[in-house]
Symmetry: C2
Subunit: 218 residues, 2 copies
């Protein structure tokens, strides 16, 4: 069983891993706001636990086990964020801090219940994929339509808040997964977007709607 502190190191290593999975002590130190010598000694500890490959003066890499354990913490974080937004009515900007704490709760049943109540969600309210119970990540990260810019062409990937009303709304506008959407303009005042797709040449989408549509950039 890893401590709360170890979990935070694992999570940071995971999210700083780029293509080759290598992380510098220095970057990790800055990300965690923990001084380098402290990081070094923790890396030796995690190496002893077979969670990190550590060689002096070489970049850090998570082991397969380390990667899995990190992903499981991230799973708990993202499930929690989704739960806070969907089931408790928090705004997506409020949930990160709370999830940072709840992700360390030791109770498999607590998180499996969340998962069930949320109907096994595949991504969190920010569009990031939720690792499965084995720590495997299938989906890729999406971005919210509201975060895209004028002129972008994007593809509908997923939807947050699948309430009946919202789905009916999407239906009425013929918005569906896979749909290619072009952003014609963004109203600076209220962030309403004017978009076009298929035979809808000028459809207005409120900020609230754009916050709930997850897209891929072309």
């Amino acid at each position: 069983m890893n401590s709360l502190v170890e979990e935070n190191y694992l999570k940071a290593l995971f999210s700083l891993s780029n293509g080759d999975g290598e992380v510098n002590v220095n970057d990790l130190s800055k990300h965690l706001e923990i001084k380098m010598p402290t990081v070094t000694s923790m890396m030796k500890k995690l190496a002893a636990k077979k969670l990190v490959h550590y060689k002096s003066y070489k970049p850090l890499r998570l082991t397969a086990r380390g990667r899995k354990e990190a992903a499981l913490v991230i799973r708990k974080h993202r499930l929690t964020e989704m739960f806070l937004v969907e089931k408790m009515g928090f705004g997506w900007e409020q949930v990160h801090e709370i999830a940072e704490q709840i992700e360390h709760i030791k109770s498999p049943i607590f998180f499996s219940k969340m998962d069930e109540l949320l109907d096994y969600p595949k991504f969190d309210p920010h569009g990031s994929p939720i690792p499965d119970i084995n720590g495997k990540i299938t989906g890729k990260a999406y971005r919210k339509l509201s975060e895209c810019n004028e002129g972008d062409t994007v593809k509908m990937a997923a939807v947050i808040n699948t309430s009946d009303e919202f789905l009916k709304f999407l239906n009425s506008r013929e918005i569906h997964l896979g749909l290619k959407i072009k952003i014609n303009s963004v109203e600076p005042f209220d962030h309403t977007m004017v978009v076009s797709y298929e035979n809808h040449l000028s459809e207005s989408l409120s900020h609230m709607v754009c916050e709930r549509l997850l897209v891929e950039k072309e």
Copy 2:
């Protein structure tokens, strides 16, 4: 801000306080499963923080502030238990362990949201009163009807799980707050209770129902 560990000491002191509010180091030590010298030194620390009155070889007492802070942790614990049972569908026997962890979450908004979603409950699923946001405890502790014995006469005090269906059920049996109920017999097999009250001389109440009725002993 108190640490998780300090919060656990405060909570233990609170719940071990009897009428005069005095607690022995030894009892505290046993309750927390922490050795006496450790408890002594923590008491000195809490005394320095004005949370405990400490005199060598004398019983411990919480200060007014200590009592308040303890009550606020207990508030978070009981709110959490209620949330887990009412909103997440856990059994009341599953929730204690999870609540022991969640009670230490630092996020006022998280707990005020729970409180709101639960419609400001006054007691937890075990019948214990939930302290208010100022740490004041108004209600007294109730016990579940299911925990009472054959021959007991009890008074209806409160109801857990106020779903429409359950309230309709209670209505149909003319069960209401303040009602005096006599337990005639308890079925050993499934814990069904046969009770009498007012002009109902032999009413059968399933274990599920008895778990949700909180009563005072006469």
